[in-house]
């Protein structure tokens, strides 16, 4: 079990997730595949509702029971297929080897439990610590994220948004995970605190050689933090590659749109620029390419045939009929 290809530290293959909403079926994730090397960082970028959070939750197998209709595909972590192991086995991995930082710090913490208890919980389960040891380690962890140990016994409502997010991060990092999934860890925060939190994640990541999947809207953060980027649209990866490939040579019209057609990594591209039109309704996806209704370059074929993800060069992949034609 210990031997595996280090470039395939985490390997997601053909992940599909559907939700039910009333009588409608919501196609949230449609055939997503990617690999993540040990210690590297993958940025998942895309609009709200593109299915990024669902991908993250599907990897950890924490999709909401009541609304999830199906979840198929395989997730291989360190050579082990974790998408099919028993839930009890999965519990040993969650929080210990793979952990997650959630998007909204306001609701991610249990309001009736002190922050130190919430951090210590994972340590007690995964590292067999006693209550006292867990508490001590949790306080240390709090101080690592810049919160005074005096406030360990306070409740989440006594903390500001930024501090809550630090608690969430402390919780995720408490057991030195090998893979961290950070779901927009800075979106809910003030600009000044954003930088601090990000620096903190980066520091801890380097110190512990943690691999990371970073879900974000912020292209500045991607440029600073990520090795690879996957652009997600309507539950699909539409373009994927390393930082240079995506920033210097974006191929997909959607990626172009996102980057505001400034393909220069040295220039500041802080935010995703808005792309004209609205994302498709995930319960009624268009027939051909999902992006075709918004695509400035769409042709007849784009509206009728769904494109495959094609390999360009190096680690660069794209899903676009026009690019396919150019290559030929």
């Amino acid at each position: 079990m210990t031997t595996y290809d280090e470039s395939k530290f985490l390997s997601v293959k053909d992940l599909n997730v559907t939700y039910k909403s009333g009588e409608d079926i919501v196609y949230a994730v449609n055939g997503v595949s990617f690999d993540l090397a040990k210690g590297s960082t993958l940025g998942l970028v895309g609009e709200t509702g593109a299915g990024k959070t669902t991908i993250a939750k599907a990897i950890l197998r924490i999709l909401p029971d009541h609304s999830t209709r199906s979840c198929t595909g395989s997730v291989i972590f360190k050579g082990q297929e974790i998408s099919s192991i028993k839930n009890e086995e999965m519990q040993k991995i969650r929080g210990a080897e793979i952990s997650m930082v959630f998007q909204d710090p306001m609701t991610a913490l249990n309001p009736t439990m002190t922050v130190v208890d919430q951090i210590a919980e994972g340590l007690i389960i995964h590292q067999g610590m006693t209550k006292e040891q867990g508490r001590e380690a949790a306080i240390k962890m709090l101080e690592t994220v810049g919160i005074s140990g005096d406030r360990a016994d306070e409740y989440p409502h006594q903390f500001s948004g930024g501090m809550k997010q630090r608690v969430v991060i402390a919780m995720a990092l408490a057991c030195n995970p090998e893979l961290l999934i950070a779901d927009e860890p800075t979106t809910a925060l003030d600009v000044t605190i954003q930088a601090q939190v990000l620096e903190l994640i980066n520091e801890l990541k380097v110190k512990q050689n943690t691999a990371m999947i970073l879900i974000t809207h912020d292209l500045g953060i991607v440029a600073e933090t990520c090795d690879n980027v996957a652009v997600v649209y309507a539950g699909e990866v539409v373009e994927m590659g390393n930082l240079e490939e995506i920033y210097d040579n974006p191929k997909h019209p959607y990626t172009h749109g996102l980057f505001g057609a400034i393909p220069d990594i040295s220039k500041d591209v802080e935010r995703l620029s808005p792309v004209d039109g609205l994302p498709p309704d995930p319960s009624a996806l268009p027939k051909g390419c999902y992006f075709s209704p918004r695509c400035p370059r769409a042709t007849e074929e784009c509206h009728s045939r769904h494109p495959e993800l094609i390999h360009l060069e190096g680690s660069h992949f794209v899903r676009c009929i026009e690019v396919e034609k150019e290559g030929k």
Binding site: P64, M100, T107, A108, P111, E121, Y155, M171
Partner: protein
Amino acid sequence: MGRYILKRLIQMIPILLIVAILIFLLMSFVPGDPVQIILGDQATEMQIEEARHNLGLDKPFVQRLVDYLVGILHLDFGKSYLLGTPVSQELLTRFPRTLLIALLCIVFTVIFGIPIGIRCALRADKLEDRVWMFVTLLLSSMPGFWLALMLVLLFSVRLGWLPSNGIGGWKYFVLPVFANSLGSLAGIARQTRASMLEVIRSDFVTTARSKGLSERDITWKHALPNAMIPIITILGARFGMLLGGTTITESVFSIPGIGLYMINGINNRDYPIVQGCVIYIAFTFSIMMLITDLIYAFVDPRIKAQYAGPAKAKKKAEATA
């Protein structure tokens, strides 16, 4: 916390005083003359006059009210017109019976209602959940007194296992407690389920799951304490009501508790009894609401913070800033 309790207790005084005045006023509007009821139809004019004088009913209204209020301050609720016994003493004799039934009922409600609710929430929309939800809906659609009668019919009349009325050993309490709790048990089960479902689907439960907690720990350590917050209020109000006398049950099973005392008082136009019961009920209900709020604060730290008082909250705010 101590200051908060004191403040609440002080706030209760004007409410209870107004309740006393209102009920006194209200009783004076009730059709039917108590003296007539005590003496019966054959009484002469003279006898009625005398009885009026003896009961103090010939004094002016305002003076009677003032006398009554002064009496209350000395915990004297007056004497029953009909029996001549002091109301406060009768209340004290009856209180332990009502308290015992109330306690048994609330315990029964909690130990069955809450687990059923949790179980259903964890198996939402499965067959077991649906069956329980139908049974509890049926139970909460039954009139309590009818359920009581049906239990009497089955267990006393047909099977002869349990006594159908009066008080005595433990056997006498089985039917009243059952009859009195099944409805609220069903209600609590349904509300626990709804509350649990809402909590189970909240973000912090997903966080707990992402930490690798077992489903059991998630349910008991994270979901349940949060789901219990609204249930506590409902249970508190229910217990307060029970302490006020389980009017209907006491009536069906002829249990000499406070509820039956009041009903008899009303039927006999025995105003001191009615007034005494009403003030007692308002008092116990308010106390129960206070206790509920305190338990609430114990479970929900957000509310505890509100009670800490403005001074402390301000200090906290400064410290955070």
